[in-house]
């Protein structure tokens, strides 16, 4: 229950995000709440200290909050481990949630949304938040029970491998989406198929060389010109 309460409050902990202390204000708010739930009242000075620079992945913050409270209770090195885990969980969370889960959810939702927009919205939100909310709502409990060894949980579930598996799934779904859209939204002809193939390869060739918005700007103009002169 305590993990659910902290999970709920953590929805709002980023609201004061800024370049001075990043999520520090929200972290101080969360640990004060968490300590109260564990029957402790933090001194004002301690809360002030915790508003200093802190930044991690928002879905994994509760693991750090749980670890911090446990270490504080046992007079451990809560601030030392907070610093270590904030950067480690930032990297872990970014690579899975931002980098890998979003493309898979997008491709899945786009295939569903092509049939029915409502199904698309639901499939994105359900698939994504299944992972998001699981981590958010269990983070405090796991962090508190494992303390400074909280990383063992991520090793046990082989979390660093998830991004690779999901990326392979995303490649498959992206392929399905593209060919299904080509087949459904325009009559099949060899010119269209050839053009789309060239466009994918062009995107792959420019991906590491040109910023995506700049690349898109160039392609918007050239494609518009191409369709204008071909009358497509």
């Amino acid at each position: 229950m305590k993990s659910l309460i902290i999970g709920f409050f953590s929805f709002f902990y980023q609201a004061n995000l800024n370049h001075e202390n990043m999520q520090g204000t929200g972290f101080a708010y969360l640990i004060r709440k968490a300590a109260r739930l564990k029957g402790m009242e933090l001194e004002v000075k301690k809360v002030h200290e915790q508003t200093s620079y802190f930044h991690t992945h928002p879905y994994l913050v509760n693991f750090i909050v749980g670890m911090w409270v446990r270490e504080f209770e046992q007079n451990g090195e809560e601030d030392f481990h907070k610093k270590i885990y904030s950067s480690a969980f930032g990297a872990l969370g970014d690579s899975f949630f931002w980098h890998s889960l979003r493309p898979l959810c997008f491709a899945t939702a786009a295939i569903a949304g092509f049939y029915n927009p409502f199904a698309g919205i639901i499939s994105y939100l359900v698939l994504y938040n299944l992972f998001h909310l699981s981590f958010r709502f269990t983070g405090f409990r796991i962090g508190y029970s494992l303390g400074r060894d909280v990383i063992t949980f991520f090793n046990r579930i082989r979390f660093n491998k998830w991004a690779t598996y999901f990326d392979i799934g995303s490649s498959l779904m992206l392929g399905i989406l593209l060919s299904y859209m080509a087949k459904s939204s325009a009559d099949f002809n060899s010119v269209l198929l050839g053009t789309l193939t060239v466009y994918i390869m062009l995107g792959m060739a420019l991906a590491k060389k040109l910023d995506i918005v700049l690349g898109l700007t160039v392609i918007i103009i050239t494609t518009g010109f191409f369709l204008y002169i071909t009358g497509a």
Binding site: N21, T25, Y29, P103, G175, I219
Partner: protein
């Protein structure tokens, strides 16, 4: 009434992006499908959504990085395709370019929000007493207002520039084919961005192409 909902939703998008929730109500594909249902042009909105979503899949908020406002792109694109006058064919090239251009000042508004949050925090720190809850509530409200004001204002400005530049010249173009070509190009970016081993990635992508073509 639906326009009022759309404006209120703009605030939720802004909050969901960085201030609170993070339940992905701010993803362009979700925005486009919600806007499509609200404004009654689901298919066009869907195509706008996949283009801006592809930008967001590559331009991600790693660490403290501020990505470009792909959510605004989807919001403005869907709104504008609904509000364009029916008297002439829309000029999609101009429309997309204006949206991409407007994404920059809207992204800048995010920096303003962070600067505002910083000012509040530093002021309390200087006064010797920090109230985290007050800072969070103020930041939440400010972020909501940023969405409502900047998303609506950005869309309004694009609409008027578009109407001014468009004139009476028609350029008939199949929007769906056009969007599909843009998305195919962006798919190349997304494929390169994915981190699995190249041979696996491309093999599964090719398998997906076959499944999509043959099975679905």
């Amino acid at each position: 009434m639906n326009i009022v909902f759309a404006v209120l939703y703009a605030g939720i998008i802004s909050v969901d992006r960085f201030a609170a929730f993070n339940v992905m109500l701010s993803r362009p594909i979700v925005i486009s499908m919600i806007m499509g249902l609200l404004l009654g042009n689901s298919m066009e909105c869907f195509y706008v959504g996949i283009i801006f979503e592809a930008i967001g899949l590559v331009d991600v908020p790693f660490g403290t990085r501020v990505p470009k406002e792909d959510s605004f792109g989807a919001f403005a694109g869907c709104s504008l395709l609904s509000f364009m006058p029916q008297a002439h064919e829309p000029n999609y090239v101009l429309l997309f370019l204006l949206i991409l251009l407007m994404m920059y000042p809207v992204t800048l508004s995010l920096y303003i929000t962070r600067a505002f949050n910083k000012t509040l925090y530093v002021r309390q720190q200087r006064n010797g007493r920090i109230y985290p809850l007050r800072l969070l509530v103020t930041g939440f409200c400010f972020s909501y207002m940023r969405g409502v004001i900047f998303y609506t204002l950005g869309t309004f400005i694009i609409y008027h520039i578009y109407m001014f530049l468009h004139g009476s010249k028609n350029s008939e173009m199949n929007f769906f084919v056009y969007s599909l070509m843009l998305f195919a190009f962006l798919s190349g970016y997304v494929l390169r961005f994915l981190s699995a081993k190249s041979y696996l990635k491309y093999a599964f992508f090719a398998l997906g192409l076959i499944i999509g073509w043959v099975v679905l």
